[in-house]
């Protein structure tokens, strides 16, 4: 029982990493990135390909600035043009990107699942309490998720950039009146979101095998975590991810085919009973 609980929490940590970028992009510019999961898979494959050249650690580290630049460029020159009152253009473009990424990966890597080889780290155990051992990798993922959430929330609440993010998301026109360049601020938000995506992708590749068509499922997990937790707060997303991880883990224990379904049902239940999520941040 305790084991299921711990496993669920650690799984939730991974889902939090999936979800933070989605939450950030939606929070700042109301953009729903339907290719979120596919970019995570792309990052994983990038790390795997890079690892063959320079080793896993260096590949993972190099991926972060690359992701930052890529996210910035994508927002600045492609996605900024799709923003507006109508949600359709951004949805279609990101959905199109999803298809493009999946098929490009299929073309380059074939459908065989791959993983990022980190040697013994993937299977090592750590004793966190007398008689209680957890995997080192899941623990690292959880720690990373915690750190990223804290960093992101602090950035938003305390920094000048965070102020700019909140201002432009509240009222773009007035923010521009104060001298803010919305298209650059949006691009920075997406750049940060893509760094988070890269982190998520690297861990996903370490933890399990990845295949080109895995993206959509990861998107659904990220999305469910955001909705369960409540929009507007990164800690909310974090907790939502934990709840999702726990629910899925309980489902897996009942029956292997039930894990995902139970998670979906929990999501729907939250939507029906408390649509604003568990920890919504009320906007004035």
């Amino acid at each position: 029982m305790l084991d299921t609980f711990i496993q669920g929490l650690l799984l939730g940590g991974l889902y939090a990493l999936f979800a933070l970028g989605l939450s950030l992009m939606f929070g700042v510019m109301r953009l729903t990135n339907t290719a979120q999961g596919d970019f995570i898979v792309l990052a994983a494959f990038g790390a795997i390909a890079g690892a063959a050249l320079v080793g896993a650690t260096l590949a993972a580290l190099l991926l972060l600035p690359v992701a930052f630049g890529f996210g910035y460029a994508l927002q600045r020159w492609v996605l900024n043009g799709t923003l507006g009152r109508d949600p359709l253009p951004s949805l279609v473009v990101t959905f199109g990107l999803s298809i493009v990424i999946q098929n490009a990966l299929l073309q380059v890597f074939s459908a065989d699942p791959r993983s990022l080889d980190v040697g013994a780290f993937a299977t090592r155990s750590v004793a966190v309490a007398p008689g209680l051992a957890v995997g080192a990798l899941p623990l690292a993922v959880f720690a990373a998720a915690l750190a990223c959430t804290a960093a992101l929330q602090t950035l938003f609440d305390r920094s000048a950039l965070g102020r700019a993010f909140r201002a432009v998301s509240d009222d773009r026109e007035i923010a521009e009146l104060m001298g803010l360049d919305a298209s650059k601020v949006y691009a920075l938000a997406t750049a940060i979101a893509f760094v988070l995506i890269a982190v998520a992708g690297v861990f996903q590749g370490m933890r399990t095998t990845v295949a080109p068509s895995d993206g959509p499922l990861l998107l659904l997990f990220a999305f469910e975590a955001v909705i369960i937790g409540g929009m507007g707060s990164f800690w909310g997303t974090f907790v939502g991810a934990l709840v999702l991880g726990l629910t899925q883990q309980v489902g897996f224990r009942i029956d292997p085919g039930w894990g995902l379904l139970l998670g979906h049902l929990m999501f729907l239940a939250v939507l029906v009973v408390r649509p604003q999520g568990l920890f919504p941040k009320t906007r004035g």
């Binding site: 909140r166 509240d170 923010a175 521009e176 009146l177 104060m178 001298g179 803010l180 004035g284």
Partner: protein, 233 residues
Amino acid sequence: MAALVQTSGLTAFYGDAQALFGVDFRLDAGERVAIIGANGAGKSTFLKCLTGLVKALPEMVRFGGRAVGGAAPGEIVRLGLAMVPEGRRLFPSLTVEENLLMGGFARRPGPWSLQRLFTLFPILEQKRRQPATSLSGGQQQMVAIGRALMANPQVLLCDELSLGLAPIVIKEIYDQLPALCAEGLGVVVVEQDVTLAQRVSQRVYCFQEGRVSLEGASDALTREQITRAYFGV
């Protein structure tokens, strides 16, 4: 000497609909000028042309002699024009202090700082960490004005400051203006209340259906003149 703000034959469109038909306007340093007119007369459009939110041809709008029509809002605030928007439009996700800091985003050098604003509006210092939209109407108006002042402007545009405020609060706010103008700040005040507009300004422009229908010194214009110009009779 070049006027602080000058428009010559300013025309502007919303899509295909023409909103302004050749407006001539002038504001000098230290002046307080009021703009009055009915709803839809073009007052807000005019302000938007000054701030860059509505595009116009470059030569139609000049700051200190420099052609700025159609420039981006960011550029214009860096040149020294700030607006207190209609309805305040404070950022709900930001505290009072954060709203004020956003006003200084363009980092224009000048005398205004948080501390100086708190001296001008002491109540704001008390409430600095509260969400800006949790304040009363009058206090929010102070935040909006403070936010504009943080840009260290040479020109301050005030769009309907009195909207939704009690008379005593309106008075308290407008009483601050002369002191500000003494330092050279030029102020444009848009108001629905004609008497109020005349009282707080030195000159008045009356807009009617996208044109200037009357212009003159605030204390020289008669009620009859204004009524005729206001309604276009």
